[in-house]
């Protein structure tokens, strides 16, 4: 049987479905986040119930994204889960240590600008991606 003849396994198909599902939930979360922020700034400026609705919808979609991520992780095989675990541990550690150090720089006025939460999110995302790349390379 050649690789081309090989039928896609249930595990493989399920894994792909979980990945696509996670991508859709993530996209929905980003879109609802943009609506909540920019809607409040530019469209429904001072209507509290609309602002609150935007934030609650974003929060609800965020819960869906977390569940989709959990499902995705549970569907991975043991080596993939190990790579994910190590990357997430690295991301959490760097986020915590780096985030608090960054906050201290702001509190002690050693930096001229405010420490933004978005910088921390970017740092954690980049660390997570570097961790995944490192894990994939290690087991190649």
């Amino acid at each position: 049987m050649t690789k081309q003849d090989l039928p896609q396994s249930d595990w493989d198909a399920n894994n792909k479905r979980n990945t696509v599902r996670l991508a859709w939930w993530t996209a929905a979360w980003v879109i609802t986040m943009a609506i909540a922020v920019f809607g409040a700034q530019f469209v429904w400026k001072s209507i509290p119930w609309l602002i609150l609705t935007g934030i609650l919808v974003n929060l609800a979609v965020g819960v869906g994204m977390i569940m989709a991520n959990r499902r995705h992780l549970n569907g991975l095989d043991e080596m993939q889960r190990k790579i994910q675990l190590e990357a997430m541990a690295l991301s959490l550690g760097v986020g915590l240590i780096g985030g608090l150090a960054y906050s201290n720089l702001d509190v002690t006025n050693l930096i001229a600008f405010d420490a933004e939460i978005s910088h921390l999110v970017i740092l954690m995302a980049l660390t997570y991606m570097a961790g995944i790349a490192s894990g994939v390379r290690r087991y190649r």
Binding site: L6, P7, S9, W11, D77, E78, M79, R138, Y139
Partner: protein
């Protein structure tokens, strides 16, 4: 940990993708196990042993 997965696979003329499908793991995981870069869990080792009709010790050996 050393293993005979590559030999057993070659005897059956299976690709890594075929073995991965049989064991419900990714092809990359099979490749890492064959190269000794990743040690499989006990359930996965049992699954491989069942698939080849051998014992775990026949497939996996401690370094």
């Amino acid at each position: 940990m050393k293993n005979r997965l590559k030999v057993l696979r070659a005897e059956r003329d299976w690709t890594q993708a075929r073995l991965a499908a049989e064991l419900d793991v990714s092809r990359q995981t099979i490749n890492a196990i064959e190269k000794g870069k990743f040690d499989p869990s006990l359930p996965l080792a049992f699954k491989a042993a069942r698939l080849f009709g051998l014992t775990i010790e026949d497939i996996f050996q401690d370094d």
